[in-house]
Symmetry: C2
Subunit: 413 residues, 2 copies
């Protein structure tokens, strides 16, 4: 198969650079990918397949960096959207979907008594820290060094435009290092409002790390012993590992948890869920936006949850992720290439051990895959969806076998 | 006509309170309205008319607090949405709509060379201050005391959860008081990154104020003299006063301007536009969100701009707003009630002079109007849309005449 060409993507990107800072900014900028091997613009999607503006088709393992969890144009979701959109979307107040979705989320989430809605993951992660501060009357929030909890100034990975004051009340520990958390809490005794942590470590540019035995339960105990609010950032993993929240998988229950991404299959919605004890404080921290109560994304969310539940979507993502993992690991062995496979099956990541921090082999590998119809990412975890099929995985493995060969050819074993 | 009942709204609100902090939080909470006189939940909309969950119909002068600018279910917008949605919405990268919309906005906005997109007004207002800081290497942002530029901690009107550090780099002047700005800039000489200001003063709970002669040009000169970035917050007024930005109406051109609300007729989109000199800094300040590049709201925005342009929507909103104003002012006079009408015709506000800061008469007035099918707000500016008709205004004036009578009956003249 001839490698893909990106003529239209490149022409559009040239136009984009004239009228948009950087052409495409943020996590979707092509600058983080393999130059010349990826499209910059997409045209359409169906299930787990996407087509770029040049007409090239991909089996997609980024799922729009998470949101697409039951596939593009999922029939149940689109039908719910059409039905809601025919009545209207954005009003002076919510629709009944607001109540129905909050009730639904509370009913499937063992720890939670309430839900609040917004648009971005950043919205809910930032607001959760404010609720923790207001509830405790204390200023400091602990987070794992290098973790991503949104693009706001207190946590953005890029320091341009960030002031020292933006981070004056953030303190840092190391993921999977309980002693480092205990130390920072001790150093800030009486000032700790809470902590925010992802269910597993999925920092971009690094191998993922599942929580080691006793870590999250230890975190829970530190919070309990110090009356700190435990915020689980489930923006990336939520609704891919467990319908009741990723804490259920790892045996921990937070006080607040944040969702976005997979919550509505690409329709713009984020949520924070919480325990009854924090409900009053949550009602008192101002939280609003022009589209926070819009009905279409909530209808999409209800249908997405239905689809995941009735089709066993969580289990399917796990099984297909395992098939992908087993296939690619066997290929790596057959090419005598040392790779590290990390993360849970539904959100896996693979790196090349000889790459160190550079991702050179991974950029070649993922670039080769992209040019032949399989969309992976060289420095960000991947996403399975419930729309992937065993046939997709088989076809993917044909492409990745050639990509491993290309790495072997250029870098040796 | 019998006053509306809100049985279903009340039942839903009771359910909401169980599973959502405050039931409905933020600017749409019924707590800011007239108890017993407003619905809490909506079911559908068409043009300038909306129906609540009890089936009560309203001529709507809040337009979802701004977003609905060409009417609910506008044919051109919905057709563009359907067409885009059939291809897909949320991908690993933008679609061509990203480029087309940026080009379109730049082409209609005299001051601007580029556009960046997000989801909330808060997103773009906060990011604009960060771009100003990064571009100038200086920390301080000036804003008008009491102004609303989003729900983030540096500017939220409610202090719960806000830390002193969140506002350490914000300094305050008074709207329409140039000397107060000059003073604060002098006090912070060498530290001022920029200022953020709305094209007219539209703080909730107050009469609106148009900029006095020389104020905005004076603000522009202060920015130029001190190499400060002029950020125009056009989130509320944008695309209702002028297609080229509200600065065009008031004779001032900013360096950055922020949009949300009317930009896509209720589809979730916000934007920041800027001058070439700030483009590099803008590309360097991290800005991203799960749905920032989604195509459907951009297709909706292109169609909304088409609709406004081809139907003379801006002029229509002005004319209808004048008709509403003239009618209501005549009614107030006939009832011998002193009112203050403020703001531009497309975003008017009316208060009762005898109310002082309390809004008691206005709550009764707007409550009576709501219970009889006209949706106004007692403490927030109103919004005309291009879907309103002269017949809507005539019907509205029948209702408001009775509402004035109710005020006269309860409060006297």
């Amino acid at each position: 198969m001839k490698p893909y060409q990106f003529t239209q993507s490149e022409a559009l990107f040239e136009r984009a650079k004239k009228v948009v800072p950087g052409g495409i900014y943020g996590h979707q900028t092509p600058l983080l990918l393999t130059p010349g091997s990826y499209p910059a613009f997409f045209a359409r999607g169906k299930g787990a397949h996407i087509w770029d503006v040049d007409g090239n088709e991909y089996i997609d393992y980024m799922c729009s960096y998470g949101p697409i969890v039951v596939g593009h144009l999922n029939q149940r979701v689109e039908e719910a959207v059409r039905k809601q959109a025919a009545e209207g979307n954005c009003f002076n107040a919510p629709t009944a979907r607001w109540v129905e979705l909050a009730e639904r989320l509370v009913s499937i989430t063992p720890f939670a008594d309430w839900a609040a809605f917004a648009k971005n993951g950043s919205d809910v992660c930032t607001w959760a820290t404010e609720v923790a501060r207001h509830a405790t009357g204390r200023p400091k929030i602990a987070m794992a060094q290098g973790a991503y909890h949104g693009a706001h100034a207190w946590v953005t990975p890029v320091m341009s435009g960030v002031m020292p004051e933006d981070r004056a009340n953030i303190v840092y520990f190391r993921y999977n290092d309980l002693a480092s958390l205990e130390r920072v809490v001790e150093e800030n005794r009486g000032k700790m409002a809470g902590l925010i942590i992802s269910p597993f470590r999925h920092d971009a540019g690094h191998d993922s790390e599942l929580p080691v035995e006793g870590f999250l339960s230890g975190v829970r105990k530190v919070c309990d012993d110090n009356a700190m609010v435990f915020i689980l950032d489930d923006v990336r993993a939520g609704f891919r590992l467990h319908l009741g929240g990723s804490g259920e998988v790892f045996g921990v229950r937070p006080d607040l948890s944040t969702y976005c991404k997979a919550i509505a299959n690409g329709y713009p919605l984020s949520a924070c869920m919480g325990i009854d004890r924090l409900k009053k404080a949550a009602a008192e921290v101002f939280f609003t936006g022009s589209y926070f109560t819009s009905a279409v994304p909530m209808a999409a969310s209800l249908a997405t949850l239905d689809e995941l539940e009735t089709t066993g979507g969580i289990e399917k993502m796990r099984t297909l992720g395992e098939m992908l993992r087993d296939g690619m690991l066997a290929q790596a062995r057959s090419h005598a290439i040392e790779v590290t496979w990390s993360g849970p099956p539904a959100l896996p990541y693979m790196s090349f051990q000889a790459d160190g921090d550079k991702h050179s082999r991974n950029k070649l590998f993922c670039g080769e895959a992209a040019k032949h119809g399989v969309y992976l990412h060289p420095r960000h975890n991947w996403f399975l969806s419930a729309a992937h099929t065993e046939e997709d995985i088989r076809r993917t493995l044909e492409v990745t076998d050639d990509a491993f060969a290309a790495v072997q050819k250029q870098f040796g074993n």
